[in-house]
């Protein structure tokens, strides 16, 4: 066997690939099936959000914040609205606060459903994809009744929300929670989470240690999958999250090591249960009244100043750095997309030398990136 010569190969997992979750390019140097090193290239979806925000007034920027992380658009809107309200010192009516929490958590459930559906499809299981989309369509139908849009809502605005939630819609949300937790999540667990093939493809793969995760600026389910209990809804509560009881699931190495792909996936599944709990509590305590502060909704003109506010998006810490010069347009609006930091860890995971080409697909899927947020 000693006269067999192997060569290294440069493989391009190009911008168009069924498993890279968007336009993401990784140039991989492989020795057969083992990956020696990888180099990621981003920027194929750079849509100049920050330049657009400097030229439009505060209300016109809201649709652009939707399209950054298009899977949890409500939470993006929520973060932007709270940033501007923090600068203005504005208080939002309590009914609006409750509605914001309800739609944000429903959107987190929808985003995690899509994450686990497409992750199963990347690994090879097609059925969870269809089931996840079936449940996702139920949530999208509720959102369509609420604000008319299925994907990029622009619903949470500065001063409140743009339309009121009628009793019929609230009843539908209640019915959805009854259906979803625990029955539907148990179904996903039995189909995918504890499936032998899924475990052997994701356990002990792509291990991210606690120190490495914090060093690279990871946040959200990826950080919690490595064992760090950090959730902005509990650590720096915004809105009225401090009134609700919910747990923070963290990865504990149940099927392999702490911080592997299975842990990150399982944190998302468990978070869906907690989100359903929050929605139930918010529905029980929602008051009647105004859903928007009408004066602020019409014209938004914050005073001169600078502020940084962050919310817990479905993928991590979503932050907005806003500099205002007192006019009707932001002077500088910088968005911190969580997936930007999450994906930067890929090159150092593969540098460990224990990855195979198929494992790269599993790792990218478990990091759950959305390229709109990486490139903005």
């Amino acid at each position: 066997m000693k006269d067999i010569r192997t060569e290294e190969m440069l493989l391009n997992m190009g911008p168009q690939h069924p498993s890279t979750h968007g336009v993401f390019r990784v140039v991989v140097r492989t020795d057969g099936e083992m990956v020696l090193e990888s180099e990621s290239h981003i920027g194929y979806l750079h849509r100049c959000f920050e330049k657009c925000a400097e030229n439009l007034n505060y209300l016109q920027v809201v649709p652009y914040t939707d399209r950054m992380d298009y899977l949890c658009a409500m939470i993006n809107n929520f973060g932007y609205a709270q940033t501007v309200e923090k600068l203005m010192g504005l208080q939002v009516p309590p009914r609006a606060e409750h509605i914001r929490i309800i739609v944000a958590e429903l959107n987190r459930i929808a985003s995690h459903l899509l994450a686990l559906g497409t992750y199963g499809m990347d690994i090879g299981a097609i059925t969870p994809f269809l089931l996840a989309f079936r449940d996702r369509e139920k949530i999208l139908k509720i959102f369509e009744k609420l604000c008319g849009q299925r994907l990029n809502y622009s619903y949470v605005r500065v001063g409140g929300v743009s339309f009121d939630a009628t009793d019929e819609i609230l009843q539908e949300i209640q019915d959805f929670c009854e259906y979803f937790e625990p029955a539907a999540i148990d179904e996903y667990d039995s189909l995918l989470s504890y499936n032998g093939i899924f475990i052997s493809r994701t356990a002990n793969v792509g291990v991210v240690s606690k120190e490495m995760a914090i060093d690279y600026g990871l946040t959200g389910p990826n950080l919690r999958g490595s064992g760090v209990r950090r959730d902005l809804r509990k650590d720096e509560p915004y809105g009225i999250y401090d009134r609700f009881q919910f747990e923070i699931p963290t990865g504990d190495g149940e099927q392999g090591t702490v911080g592997d792909c299975w842990d990150r996936y399982m944190v998302r599944v468990r978070e869906m249960r907690e989100s359903a709990k929050i929605v139930r509590q918010a529905l029980a305590s929602i008051p009647s009244g105004d859903f928007v502060d009408k004066k602020a909704y019409k014209s938004v003109k914050p005073p001169k100043g600078e502020v940084y506010h962050k919310v817990e998006g479905a993928r991590g810490e979503l932050g907005f750095h806003l500099v205002s010069d007192g006019s009707a347009k932001p002077y500088r609006l910088k968005a911190r997309g969580p997936s930007f930091c999450n994906i930067s860890i890929l090159d150092s995971i593969t540098a460990s030398g224990k990855c195979m080409v198929a494992d790269m697909v599993a790792i990218i899927g478990s990091l759950d990136i959305v390229m709109g947020e990486v490139d903005r």
Binding site: G14, P15, Q16, G22, Y44, L45, R47, C48, R67, F133
Partner: protein, 179 residues
Amino acid sequence: MAAPENLNPDPLTKNILFMNSVDYLINLTRANSVWPLTFGLACCAIEMMATGAAKYDIDRFGSGPFRATPRQADLMIVAGTVTHKMAPRVKRLYDQMPEPKYVIAMGGCVIRGGPYVKYGYHVLKGVDLIVPVDVYIPGCPPRPEALLEGLFKVQKLMEKERILDRTRKLTKPEVYSPV
């Protein structure tokens, strides 16, 4: 579906017996088996995935298998914003598809830049600046039913094809070049 009139301009084949029916049969089978290329770039890709999922099933119209490689696809659904960094790759993928090929431009961003038309320096203002587009579907993002309607329009385009014109010299649109 009524048999369309014989639009064959070629005088040599105009009156060949059964040519019309042969075209009709072949186009019928082609139109009900249009295989798209997975080319989701941004938010419209999620609506394309929802069209492929169970509620708005695209598989019942024959377009279920989304091929990952352009060499096996005959329809490129450009779903999502195309940026200047991505534009050469879109052109390269289009060139790799075999004839006859069709392009659907899905969403506002690929029609004329969408919301990024004025201040988006890095956004390509419409994918028809680089590839010829057959069907435009407006919306941001368009509903899955709108994508299905776009697919039906492509199927109607296929009905007018002639098998002697496999490279679509008669029916292919032009690339838009503004002055």
